[in-house]
Symmetry: none
Subunit: 196 residues, 4 copies
């Protein structure tokens, strides 16, 4: 009936409405870090804890586990889209940005990497959408007659590189990614984030 039997105690500052946006951002940052460290199955409570907020806040901002992951990936995808839209970016440069995200976060890797038959249909749906956006962005800069011009080859190659992109540190992962692109005979620009 009544929930907080001990509701008196010290109640940590509220922060008010202004804090809402800040909290949401903090949650995404925290989620990114936790995902990188523990993978996509990390407990949501640990994300809330690292963000320095109560669990309820997490649920207020994100209805479920997938929403958190999507929010984290959203920004990665947006960077790629922005890179593709920016002036003077060659296909290789956009690939460089993509590759950076691939090496930077295990979570992003998971995005393209839809696990088989785990029954996570919702995540799948989201992943497909994000995956589509990535493909569209890449294709914007894809030169005619490129090695990966065939309909499915572009994202196939991305998946392949993502498969190769593992290793304990970002540097190692970056090295593997570079080797993988080389093996595919695809030129890649500098591997770096896109801070327009």
């Amino acid at each position: 009936m009544s929930q907080p039997l001990l509701p008196d105690a010290r109640r940590p500052a509220n922060g008010g409405p202004k804090a809402a946006a800040r909290n949401r951002a903090a949650l995404i940052v925290a989620a990114r870090e936790i995902y990188a460290a523990q993978g996509l199955d990390a407990p949501l409570s640990s994300i809330a804890r690292r963000a320095g907020v109560g669990q309820g806040v997490l649920y207020r901002h994100f209805p479920d586990r997938d929403a958190v992951a999507t929010a984290v990936l959203e920004e990665n995808v947006r960077q790629i889209e922005e890179a593709a839209a920016a002036d003077d970016m060659l296909f290789a440069d956009v690939l460089g940005v993509l590759t950076w995200h691939l090496t930077e976060s295990a979570a992003f890797l998971g995005l393209l990497h839809v696990r088989g038959a785990t029954g996570r249909s919702d995540a799948l749906a989201h992943a497909l959408t994000l995956s589509d956006r990535v493909e569209r962005a890449l294709r914007e800069r894809l030169p005619d007659g490129h090695r990966l011009s065939a309909p499915n080859d572009l994202m196939l190659a991305v998946a392949m590189v993502s498969g190769a992109t593992n290793g304990p540190t970002r540097e190692v992962r970056e090295g593997r990614a570079a080797a993988a692109w080389r093996l595919l005979g695809v030129e890649v620009g500098p591997v770096r984030p896109f801070d327009a």
Copy 2:
């Protein structure tokens, strides 16, 4: 002198050592099926149930979760080793066997696919060992001057193909794997298990 004239019918037949081996095999079969259906995170209890044994038996044969997965993969790896050791097998044929396992089981995919820093250090250790065995087997049949002859390229390519190998059904996964090898310019023999 004294034989159990009235064996306690209540206790489900023990069977002795013979049954032990049978149980171990049943557990591995069950685990493979469960992993395929539910992924590597499936509850151990479901594996025991499908094997038709108590949970205790599972723990008798495998000290922990990772040991079960390793045992399942063990057999896959052995098949590849046997394929490589068989007469008349070309590199492409061994790759075909490898690819079959890649497409057949999400678990095997995970093997080469050691996720970064997930804290599964034990699994990592096992995976490396198994990975080494796969590499050794492949290299046995690798022709001189092959496209993948450079020190790291062989397993890099395998990882890349495994990255591409996802999809709802084995057929889809097989198609993707074939496309991936093609993109790498590597010839692959018939994709099939090796029942010597």
Copy 3:
């Protein structure tokens, strides 16, 4: 991944399979007491605690909340059925047994008392079944031409009496029940449990 991070500690005796039946019984007893004290919405954990078992045991024996309630009521209903089947029991006597259960347990009261539109459709289904059994038992001893012979009047009367049966102590509730039957012009035998 791994659940019990602190699985070593002191592990309270297991009891083995023999304890299973005992535990189930203890759970039902505990549930009856908790229901009487706190109502049907009491936390399942409190039932497990009072029964002196872990929460898992409760879930092993009862898949969900409704199953617990049903198990508790089951026995009450059986008593009524047995009373109706016993020699020399008059209709009034069976009503006495029914009334005893009505006054003894808030949970039993809830049985006939299916709350409207609370969305508890499963409980409803169970309740209907149990309710039917009660009706059948009563009707077995219902004399021809009795005041409550009309199709719906029997259980309607029971519901009415149950509506009147509230109060802080069993004695008070029993008084109210008696008054209610009197108001209906129905004779009731001694209000007591049926320990055949």
Copy 4:
């Protein structure tokens, strides 16, 4: 001197004391609807939402959960009192109004129906008060020598009818209530609200 030339459009109009009363009324209406749909255990937040106000407003007007329920019932009781006070109302007519409230709302049913020992002592206190008011109102119109004239019989009968008054729709509940009164040999006027 200084008027807010630029009212902060960001803050959803305050409205002053006039709005306060309006909010309180909206909350009660909302609560009645929510209770009808989801039962008395519905989250307070859903009541506030349906009333179109923030949660804080709810707490400004009602100190706790019980206060909300009481406020809802308050109006039902007042209707009964008004019916009893109106010209030309016979006992049967007042019973009709009472019965209408009984069938209209599961919450009102709960009022007379104080569950035994559920620990809701506050609700109990309130309920008793409201119950007394209902009794007083009914007794105002109770003819001498009526079937229910004995001290406790009046509210006992009401409790009995409320016990019978369950069912999925108001129509079903009304049918049961009518049958219950008939079984008690009490005549009831038209079952309807009292909009004087």
